[in-house]
């Protein structure tokens, strides 16, 4: 109903005239939206196609379809550094995998306490929790680095995922709290009558129902940490510990802008996991953004 332009629907034009006018408005909308989408995606698609073009063609060919198709860029790029990209890939998956597990476990436990349990100073702690969502990471950055340095954790994966096991990513606590608040209390009460304790209510009732929020948490944690360049840069020094973003960055420096072919190929490789998640979990992502945003 909201698609009908009011000026048109209330005009005195005959039915067929009105429908055709609405039809053309609709077409114009679609054309504009498609043009916008094409403009936005063009650089990405161009990078994808360039990664299959021979080096000599990249800077002369604006087109999206490679006139000559080659996998050479991928072969060269994969082994261009001292250590092949396989290593960076494995490292990234280890770090990000542990981060995801940590976030899902610790944030769901914390969220359950805030959403369902009664305790002293609850409002105070909840306010603190909310405040830490907006805290810029710079203020904790340097002491954290010093702490990890003292613990001898520099150049290990530990600084990158251990904090996540202690629910430091409070955005997700908030997201799960909002979800649990939507679950009817009757379920808990019924279980309590049957003699279930808090842990059992959490484990057997709330956790299974909360699954969509946990999946959203896992996906966003994966995507954000896969791209996380800054903390990887701080904590991982030796090449064998590098993750995908660090490998790419070293690649840029070593190429110094001379061979974009292999660089594009490896960039595509680095974006691939995020892209696959995006395809698989599109709905979850879109809804996750919308609901968590709205309720803020």
């Amino acid at each position: 109903m909201s698609t009908l332009q009011p000026s048109l629907s209330s005009s005195n034009a005959t039915d067929s005239n009105a429908t055709s006018a609405i039809g053309s408005v609709r077409w114009i909308t679609h054309i504009c939206l498609l043009l916008g989408a094409a403009t936005m995606l063009y650089p990405l698609l161009w990078m994808l196609s360039s990664s299959f073009k021979p080096e000599s063609l990249i800077f002369r060919d604006l087109g999206l379809w490679p006139a000559q198709f080659t996998l050479e860029n991928y072969e060269r790029g994969w082994t261009a550094l001292r250590i092949p990209f396989t290593r960076f890939y494995i490292n990234s998956f280890i770090v990000v995998g542990l981060t995801v597990i940590g976030n899902v476990l610790s944030c769901s436990i914390t969220a359950f306490a805030f959403a369902r349990l009664e305790f002293s100073f609850k409002k105070f702690w909840f306010a603190i929790m909310l405040a830490t969502i907006m805290l810029p990471y710079h203020v904790t950055l340097i002491p954290q680095y010093i702490l990890f340095h003292r613990l001898g954790w520099i150049d290990t994966f530990l600084p990158l995922f251990v904090p996540n096991f202690l629910a430091t990513n409070t955005f997700f606590v908030f997201l799960i709290v909002q979800f649990i608040r939507g679950i009817p209390l009757d379920l808990d009460q019924a279980a309590m009558v049957d003699g279930a304790n808090a842990w059992q209510i959490f484990r057997l009732i709330i956790l299974p129902i909360t699954q969509p929020a946990l999946v959203t948490t896992a996906i966003f944690t994966f995507i954000w940490n896969w791209d996380n360049f800054f903390s990887n840069l701080l904590y991982l020094n030796s090449v064998s510990m590098w993750t995908v973003p660090l490998g790419l960055r070293a690649f840029v420096d070593s190429m110094s802008g001379t061979s974009y072919g292999p660089l594009f190929a490896m960039s595509i490789v680095s974006l691939l996991p995020v892209f696959i998640f995006f395809i698989l979990a599109q709905r979850q992502l879109v809804e996750g953004i919308a609901t968590s945003g709205i309720k803020g």
Binding site: S2, T3, Q5, P6, H30, L33, G36, A37, M40, L41, Y42, L44, W46, F59, L62, I109, T110, F112, A113, L117, F119, S120, I128, M134, P136, Y137, H138, V139, T140, I142, P143, Q144, Y145, I146, L147, P163, L166, T168, D227, F229, F230, L233, L248, D253, Y260, L263, F264, M266, S267, S270, L271, F278, Q282, V286, I289, A290, T291, G293, I294, G296
Partner: protein, 316 residues
């Protein structure tokens, strides 16, 4: 607390014990659940905040123990450090140009998408994709090429016979390529706007139509006022995140902030001091000034919000 005191004066001893016992048990259980988060809060958040406040008044290089220098880090930053002033200016221009433009785009596209369109989920997905990828090293590399001398953008301009230049390599334009990069990522605020638009009751529009309002009037009289809480939310979140931008500036400038410090973002300069020169005290002072600045702008947004943010039920 006061509740249990009142009861204690009235009821029998055994009653008090069981009452307090239950309350105590409730607390014990809840705090057990909270234990991981509380540990994280003190070890990784509150402790470090206090520590960085202390360090900001010292000289500390990680090897020798911190040496108290009073306010000297702050006075030096605010009066004598020219690169710091540059980084403040760069960051301010970046934040105050990119965030409003990004939000205007997001709102515009969301308004267009907020109708029963065929292929709506396709458009939504396509417009959202850059938000997911935009912060990555790979996209920064792509940007470096697109806006380089022989880049995609110049090839596009050449079609119209326009002679381009290296937009990334020219001090006066480098920052604008990064602003474009941020606007390109308008998808996530757009999704939040879209969800907000769906909440506006259609009856309002129907009533306006009866009164003969045109689409423009409907947008400014109904849509915009009812969306102000969401505009406010997006503004705060995007502003805070823009202040902290790092990766694209680091990649396109090779970590230096050039050309001629034109993309020397605040975080980049902080990184250089803290982790290239290991001047931890100085970097902590920078972190605290940033916290205060973000705090001030968030406070301005909050305080001004009562004049421009409209809540449907005023009890909230």
């Amino acid at each position: 607390m006061s509740d249990s005191l009142i009861i204690s004066s009235q009821s029998k001893r055994s009653g008090i014990a069981s009452r307090l016992g239950r309350r105590g048990k409730e607390n014990l259980v809840a705090y057990l659940f909270l234990l991981p988060w509380l540990a994280g809060l003190f070890i990784f958040t509150l402790g470090p905040i206090l520590a960085s406040a202390y360090l900001s008044f010292t000289d500390y290089d990680l090897l020798t123990s911190p040496e108290w220098t009073g306010l000297s880090n702050y006075t030096r930053l605010l009066t004598r450090d020219n690169r710091y002033a540059t980084s403040l200016g760069v960051t301010a221009r970046y934040v105050f140009l990119s965030v409003p433009l990004q939000l205007i785009f997001a709102l515009l596209v969301a308004t267009i998408l907020n109708r029963k369109l065929a292929a709506l989920s396709f458009y939504r997905a396509v417009y959202y994709l850059p938000s997911l990828l935009g912060g990555s090293v790979a996209i920064a590399i792509l940007w470096k090429q697109v806006f380089g001398m022989e880049g995609l953008f110049n090839q596009f301009l050449a079609i119209f016979g326009v002679q381009g230049m290296s937009w990334i390599g020219t001090p006066s334009t480098a920052l604008y390529t990064l602003i474009v990069l941020r606007i390109w990522q308008f998808g996530s605020p757009m999704l939040i706007f879209l969800a907000g638009l769906k909440q506006i009751p259609p009856e309002l529009y129907e009533a306006a139509e009866i009164d003969g309002a045109n689409p423009v009037a409907k947008f400014f009289r109904i849509t915009l006022p009812l969306l102000t809480p969401i505009i406010f939310f997006n503004l705060i979140m995007q502003m805070i995140s823009a202040f902290q931008a790092f990766t694209p500036a680091f990649i396109i400038s090779g970590g230096g902030g050039g050309p001629v410090d034109s993309v020397l973002f605040y975080t980049l300069y902080l990184y250089q001091h803290g982790f290239s020169n290991f001047r931890m005290g100085y970097a902590s002072a920078m972190a605290w000034i940033l916290l205060v600045l973000i705090g001030i702008f968030t406070a301005i947004a909050f305080l001004s919000s009562r004049y421009w943010v409209h809540y449907e039920d005023e009890t909230r």
